[in-house]
């Protein structure tokens, strides 16, 4: 739960930080290029090699990180739940084929496909988000299918079938709402993966493009400047590590909570 508090604090700071700071994230302060963190000049986290305020840039990066986490999770949730619920509910041969496809896709190195996708098409914000979400749905589909298999046998589903509700409608209105608990737990586990992929791509220069920034990109910038300006590397690196660590702890904790409830 400490993880949750830290995450909320970081998110809050990311939203109001750029707003209260006197500096713009694209504006260069030519008198203070590569300035180490200081309060007197108004640059709490220092400045980068172009004189841009690192505090505002880092907070923008955190915003992008959280945006990716949210959008990618929604995409993977959408595909995963629909796919898993359909496979589990319809069952039989359809289920076998659909899960076979998931197994086959599992064996593929998706990250390389995302890179291929980004090479082929224009690098835009939305494509990155959707691509990351689109590769994260496999786990979700498996878990949802397992849950649906047991839900299918319950009385309320049979009752719905009896009064003639169509299959898509049963999946959407009767199965999906009952999956919420499991799904929330697995979303907290997908979020760090999505963040990881986004920052990985941005680090390589294939993700977010200038003047926009993300934590991965900031770490990359910091790597170039580490000999003279170690704060440029250490600040975004620490933040990224802290965010990922918190999400992982949160996900682990929630999974334990759910497992213990299931075994009881």
């Amino acid at each position: 739960m400490i993880s949750g508090a830290i995450l909320s604090a970081i998110a809050l700071l990311a939203v109001i930080g750029p707003w209260i700071s006197p500096n713009e994230y694209v504006a260069a302060d030519f008198g203070n290029i590569l300035r180490s963190p200081t309060f007197s000049a108004g640059h709490v986290f220092g400045t980068d090699d172009l004189g841009r305020d690192l505090f505002v840039r880092t907070m923008m990066g955190v915003q992008v990180t959280f945006a990716v986490a949210i959008v990618a999770s929604i995409v993977s949730l959408f595909i995963g739940v629909l796919y898993g619920a359909t496979a589990g509910f319809v069952g039989g041969r359809v289920d076998a084929v659909m899960m076979r496809l998931v197994d086959t896709l599992y064996a593929m190195p998706f990250i390389f496909f995302v890179i291929l996708l980004l090479v082929v098409f224009e690098r835009n914000f939305l494509l990155i988000f959707v691509a990351i979400g689109a590769i994260n749905w496999l786990d979700m589909a498996r878990i949802v299918r397992g849950q649906t298999l047991s839900l299918r046998e319950r009385e309320f589903v049979q009752a719905a079938q009896l009064i003639g509700v169509s299959t898509p409608r049963i999946i959407l209105r009767h199965i999906a709402p009952n999956l919420v608990g499991v799904v929330i737990v697995y979303v907290t586990l997908t979020i760090p993966q999505a963040i990881l992929i986004e920052s990985f791509l941005s680090f390589l220069g294939l993700g977010i493009q200038e003047p926009q920034t993300s934590l991965g990109k900031l770490v990359n910038d910091g790597t170039d400047q580490m000999e003279g300006a170690s704060w440029m590397l250490l600040i975004p690196a620490t933040l990224l590590a802290a965010i990922l660590l918190c999400f992982n702890f949160l996900g682990d904790g929630m999974r334990d909570l759910l497992d213990s409830r299931q075994s009881r």
């Binding site: 064996a107 190195p109 496909f113 980004l118 220069g205 991965g216 990224l240 992982n248």
Partner: protein, 307 residues
């Protein structure tokens, strides 16, 4: 065992085929042709270029031609490194990556398993907590954060190790890249080993062995370790994939002329054939290594074969 091997082998083929089809279609769905960025050329010359690269043929024909090439290890010419074929570029940079990858996997397996055993045997002790805390951190922090931070402290501040590949010789330049690649895997393997060893140690046959008066060391070595290694072995497939992905970043950070660097440069240059070739190469590698892991698993655990 033979039937099992054959079945696994047959299972790998559709995956590989799907990889090639998907990658090929993706590249050919790209708006515009690979030579559009160059100066406007007379129509005849453009037609000549298209004919030379077989771009004037219908898509299924191009795919068949490409597939036949790939089967023979020929990925076609590179679009941005003129005078080189993609196969030549891959062949030149792959050995460097293999060296890195094997060293990192060895380091990860040996230290991960050792740490996991120590933690499992001293469960709930301070040592266990330290190892598991380290493991959680190691899993969460990505390679591209670990590597620059290691460079900053060990190479720039303390000057113990060389920071980059070029400009230094010998084994020392391998230390930082291998360490950065191995750290997350050490963490993951340690966690897996600990969890599965604890489970195995609580099973009946271990209690019997204990009742017969065997010491902890002998129990772990002769009875518990082999079954406890099964989950770790099945993680080796994903681990190899993770090391490959990590090597893309690590090679970029340390300036190592390996396959990962080639891939990133190709991506930034929009060298379609090169990126396509490397993706297929990586995918084949991962599928093959997964196959080997599956076969090993079947050899160790006969129950798997019957499923």
């Amino acid at each position: 065992m033979l039937r099992y091997t054959l079945r696994r082998l047959l299972g790998a083929i559709p995956t590989l085929f799907l990889v090639i089809v998907l990658a090929f279609l993706l590249v050919h769905a790209a708006p515009g042709g690979p030579f559009d960025a160059e100066r406007a050329l007379p129509a005849e010359i453009e037609a000549n270029i298209a004919a030379a690269y077989h771009l004037d043929e219908p898509l299924p024909m191009q795919f068949l031609r490409y597939l036949t090439g790939v089967m023979q290890g020929d990925f076609g010419p590179s679009y941005s490194y003129r005078d080189y074929t993609v196969s030549e570029l891959i062949g030149r940079s792959f050995p460097v990556s293999v060296q890195l990858g094997i060293l990192a996997m060895l380091l990860a397996a040996v230290s991960g398993i050792s740490l996991g055993i120590v933690a499992a045997l001293n469960r709930h002790s301070a040592l266990d907590k330290i190892v598991m805390g380290f493991a959680m951190t190691g899993i969460s922090i990505p390679v591209f954060v670990i590597a620059p931070v290691l460079v900053l402290f060990l190479a720039v501040k303390l000057q113990w190790l060389p920071a980059s590949w070029t400009g230094s010789e010998g084994a020392l330049r391998l230390v930082l890249p291998v360490l950065s690649l191995a750290l997350p895997q050490i963490a993951y393997i340690a966690r897996l080993t600990r969890a599965s060893l604890i489970e195995v140690l609580s099973s009946d046959f271990i209690r019997t062995a204990r009742a017969q008066g065997l010491g902890t060391a002998a129990i772990v070595r002769y009875h518990a370790l082999k079954p406890a290694m099964l989950p770790v072995l099945s993680y080796m497939g994903p681990a190899v994939a993770a090391v490959l992905t990590g090597s893309v970043v690590v090679e970029e950070i340390f300036g190592i002329p390996g396959l990962g660097q080639l891939f990133v440069r190709g991506s930034l240059n929009r060298d379609y054939t090169l990126v396509l070739g490397v993706v297929i190469f990586y995918a084949t590698l991962i599928v093959l290594l997964n196959l080997i892991v599956d076969l090993l698993y079947g050899a160790i655990d006969p129950r798997i074969r019957r499923r």
